[in-house]
């Protein structure tokens, strides 16, 4: 995929506060990249710099190979969807969507036709004459989306656009946006702090922490192969177990836990033997049985609690030195507290992470 947007060693200070630190990020044409991270990690700031509302303190932003640092917002041709919608309160829905077309000097007939198509796309054709204040949150959201897309911008930037919607509508909109992305081949930069949203929608996810990207990769990569402890804990739920590396062979390492158990685990990044590390084990990859299974990692544990949660059974376990959580399929048998069980998982289902 050809690189379209590049952040080249971008740093941003607000007074003495460093909000984005020496950040490099490339985004391909037609790619859907999510910026995911906790509150205050600099996601919005990065997006605002891309849109041209803020200037980087240092570094360069390139679009299609040329620097856009000196290009004012209105010449950047990027559609922005704000978390707060930012619709024009004094214009009708139709006029809101027509605005970017008017700015581009498109004729009346052309505008009418494209506004109509945009309204159809977000299923609001009947509400064209309403004012934004007469719409529900979800409808306003869709108007904001239509307005940002109607002029076929080079890039669409979205800052937590679904934050204000209820769960059902949010999931619907997630699918709608993803569908639009595929159909129109849009390049989208999407900010969110909801990890499942990022995983559902993106081609790649950039995980932010304190102004830096901790890891960037496909949803599968950041979930299955977390590079750092922060990523492992921030995305999904995980069991983190301390241990010491005994040997490393290629992409696998043997780790000794404080309880004496030996675990064979996949490795990402450079790990040396003798190093103390964390093991990240996803709860849903853990199987429980009363017999020791061969060829897999096995921990002897005791059930402390088990909760039925509708779509899965959540079992809390305790081994000699640390707790462990397992999520079992809905059809799994019950494990009453006190049951002694073997928790088993493959080497590929756990990762060694340097602390």
């Amino acid at each position: 995929m050809a690189e379209f947007i590049r952040f080249d060693r971008i740093t941003k200070f607000y007074g003495p506060l460093c909000v984005v630190e020496n950040l490099d990020l490339g985004i391909g044409k037609g790619e859907f990249v999510s910026l995911l991270g906790p509150s205050g990690s600099g996601k919005t700031t990065l997006l605002m710099m891309l849109a041209g509302f803020e200037q980087p303190t240092a570094g360069e932003i390139l679009l299609d190979g040329t620097s856009i640092n000196a290009v004012p917002t209105y010449k950047r041709d990027m559609g922005v969807v704000f978390q707060s919608y930012a619709l024009f309160p004094h214009m009708s829905v139709g006029d809101n969507i027509a605005f970017p077309l008017q700015m581009r000097g498109i004729g009346k007939a052309g505008i009418d036709e494209r506004v109509k198509r945009a309204l159809d796309m977000v299923q609001l054709s009947t509400l064209s004459d309403r004012r934004p204040s007469q719409l529900s949150g979800g409808q306003q959201q869709r108007v904001a989306l239509a307005r940002a897309l109607v002029f076929e911008p080079r890039v669409v930037l979205m800052d937590e656009p679904l934050g204000a919607l209820d769960k059902q509508l949010r999931e619907q909109m997630q699918l709608d946006i993803r569908d639009l992305h595929r159909r129109l081949g849009l390049t989208i930069v999407f900010v969110t702090h909801d990890q499942s949203e990022a995983l559902t929608m993106s081609d790649r996810v950039a995980v932010f922490n304190k102004g830096k990207i901790e890891q960037i990769g496909t949803p599968r990569q950041v979930y299955d192969e977390p590079a750092t402890r922060f990523v492992a804990e921030f995305i999904g739920e995980t069991n983190l177990v301390e241990g010491v590396v005994e040997t490393v062979q290629g992409a696998e390492a043997t780790v000794r836990l404080p309880s004496g158990a030996q675990i064979v685990s996949a490795v990402s990044g450079s790990i040396a033997s003798g190093q103390s590390v964390f093991l990240s084990i996803r709860p849903e990859r853990v199987d429980l049985s009363e017999t020791r299974s061969e060829g897999r990692n096995v921990l002897e544990t005791e059930v402390t609690d088990s909760v039925y949660q509708g779509d899965h059974l959540r079992v809390q376990l305790h081994n000699a030195t640390h707790p462990l959580i397992a999520k079992l399929g809905r059809r799994s048998r019950e494990f009453p507290p006190g049951t002694k069980v073997f928790a088993a998982f493959s080497a590929g289902d756990c990762r060694v992470i340097a602390p």
Partner: protein, 260 residues
């Protein structure tokens, strides 16, 4: 319960205190007598005729309209520009600057009057319409600034950013977004400026010549020369005008609110 009654009574008393002068003067506009006192012998509209046909009064009304209109235009333009400038986050001493704009509200009119006279004389503008309009504008601008600043504060900055990202240059953002959204504030600022000019006496005394006698000024001098009920008729005109302006503001605001 007694507390409630007491509160209501005090409210009533305050209202009476405020409107008593109006109640005292208004009926006299319709007297047939030649002096400005009660009792009223019989009702007549002769003093309104006097107002509209006597040369001095007619000129005064005409002057008030010219000067009021000029002041409204100038003060609204300047006050709106100032409010837009005060919005700039990068401005140093923004708070003190804003206070500075409100200064003419608290500085005694007499002081301003003397200052204006000296200044206008320096430019050869005493005894001219322009001079009076400038003087009135000085005291009218604060009202516009307060009103427009309030309206601008209510605008979500992200709406303007969104317009920029959709391709609007700063000038277009101002014309299509900022100004329409601030319009209710600009309008009520303009109305306040007009009202300020209409009843400004002190500055007018200092800077206006005999040719720029405004209605307020004419009332002021005629109450000393001859106490004719024409003053009451003029006062009636004032009050009717004010109520009308007030209505315009209220209606335009509610229309704006509906449009939002």
């Amino acid at each position: 319960m007694p507390m409630k009654v007491a509160k209501a009574t005090f409210a009533m008393l305050t209202i009476i205190f405020l409107v008593a002068p109006l109640i005292a003067i208004l009926p006299l506009a319709f007297t047939s007598s030649v002096i400005l006192t009660y009792p009223i012998p019989s009702w007549s509209l002769r003093w309104f005729e006097e107002l509209f046909f006597a040369d001095a009064w007619r000129r005064a009304i005409f002057n008030s309209l010219i000067i009021g209109t000029g002041t409204t235009l100038l003060a609204t333009a300047l006050g709106t520009a100032a409010s837009l400038g005060l919005r700039n986050r990068l401005l140093f001493f923004r708070g003190s600057m804003r206070t500075l704009f409100l200064l003419p509200m608290v500085v005694p009119a007499v002081v301003l009057g003397v200052g204006m006279q000296v200044l206008l004389a320096g430019f050869g503008l005493t005894n001219s319409y322009i001079g009076v309009i400038i003087a009135h504008t000085v005291v009218a601008v604060p009202f516009v600034v307060v009103s427009v600043t309030g309206a601008l504060a209510g605008i979500d900055e992200r709406v303007e950013l969104a317009a920029q990202s959709l391709g609007a240059s700063p000038a277009t953002v101002f014309r299509r977004i900022t100004l329409p959204l601030a319009m209710p504030g600009v309008l009520s600022g303009a109305v306040l400026a007009f009202a300020t000019s209409l009843d400004e006496v002190v500055l007018t005394l200092f800077v206006a010549g005999p040719n720029q006698r405004t209605l307020a000024r004419q009332m002021f001098s005629s109450i000393r020369e001859n106490i004719s009920p024409a003053i009451a008729a003029a006062a009636f005109l004032f009050i009717a005008g004010t109520v009308l302006i007030g209505l315009v503001v209220v209606v335009s605001r509610s229309i704006m609110a509906e449009r939002r």
